[in-house]
């Protein structure tokens, strides 16, 4: 039986109109299998909705997925919305079809890690682990 002690809670969501959720669901399952409690908020969410859910669920990290090319606007918008909800301490990670040249823009806008097609899943889980540890320690 699984132990009943502390578990990291994370939120996986898709901001914007992109309905391709295969990647988001894959990551959600991988995190579950790594022992995370994953709040999954589904597709077509506004950044404000994702931030409000992250606050209510008291997650230690938010993971965003975008395959439609709107990441440069939507990922930072989630960071902003978290800040406005008084939850700027919750780290945001993002992944999807993201050109290499966009990664530095996203990191400057406060996205702590960016994953692209081909990023090994273990690396993604490790990044969530580190983000959660850093958040709990803060």
């Amino acid at each position: 039986m699984a132990e009943t002690t502390h578990r990291y809670r994370v939120l996986i969501g898709k901001p914007g109109l992109d309905g391709h959720d295969r990647g988001a669901k894959f990551i959600a399952r991988a995190l579950r299998d790594a022992g995370f409690e994953v709040v999954y908020t589904g597709i077509r969410r506004t950044p404000e909705e994702i931030a409000a859910a992250a606050v209510q669920e008291d997650v230690s990290a938010v993971g965003l997925s975008s395959l439609s090319g709107a990441h440069l606007r939507l990922f930072p918008a989630v960071v902003d919305a978290l800040g406005k909800s008084g939850a700027g301490d919750i780290p945001v990670l993002g992944g999807g079809v993201i050109p290499d040249e966009d990664i530095s823009h996203l990191k400057q806008a406060g996205i702590v890690e960016v994953f692209t097609p081909g990023t090994p899943v273990d690396q993604i889980i490790q990044a969530f682990q580190q983000a959660c540890e850093a958040h709990q320690g803060s």
């Binding site: 699984a2 399952r29 579950r32 022992g35 409690e37 994953v38 859910a53 606050v55």
Partner: protein, 305 residues
Amino acid sequence: MNSDHLLQGLKERDPRAVAKAISLVENGDPLADSILASLDESLIDQALVLGITGPPGAGKSTLTNQIISYFRSQGKRIGVIAIDPSSPISGGAILGDRIRMMQHALDNDVVVRSMATRGRLGGLCAATGAAVRIMASSGCSHIIIETVGVGQSEMDIIRLADITALVLAPGLGDDIQAMKAGLLEVADLLVVNKADCAGAETLAMDMEAVARERREKNEGVIEVCMTVASEGKGIKDMLHVVAKIDEEYRQSGEIMKRRMKSHDLEVLDWAVELIKPKFLKMIAESDTSRKGDPRMKAVEILKKL
């Protein structure tokens, strides 16, 4: 945040404070004790705790979403605790009930918390009771607990909720059979959801028969409601029935009786939970052979206390 800040935050209905307080309890943090000891008992007494249970796929989350909409139209502040199972292998979980309730995401008076069972088998998680009290203390007058999809033995909700609705849907006939010696006997409200689907009339007739039998045995108010949660149909009637049962049970003292029983059982649960590690240690130390009758050994261990 320290406990004074959190308590102040609960009073001010700060969503972060509510969420943090629930996490502290869920994680067994020592700070939780002082918060739980200082909650507003009168608000807790007044709140209506509605349990929503039923087999997987019956429409519990969709129904919960509609119930939220209805209560919000009356200006009530709502708490929702949505429980999903933890993986017995990894201990992780996918908490997906919130997807059906996202239309209320930006409403500060709809407090939704998804929780994983964390190894508990009764259909709830150990911290559910505390989460109810925290939400009530933050001004939620109506608190909905949505259980995991149930089979036969997930009865925890019956004792924790003031009123429990069992949600069923046509086409899940085998599950109903499995539950016959269980939830059907104790739920206050039998909801036939997906009432627009084939087989709903038959299911409703079966449920009426169950209700009639229970009424004849004088087992309290038991009602059958039909809903199409995805379209919001039947919700108002269902909640009128809930209000009727609530009024009747508050007048007759049934609610208080249920809460006292629930309190005792929750204390018992925690007592067992807290003593488990000590017992396990005593068991391991008392006998290295691991042979013989377990019950007799348990009696011996208790004598040593």
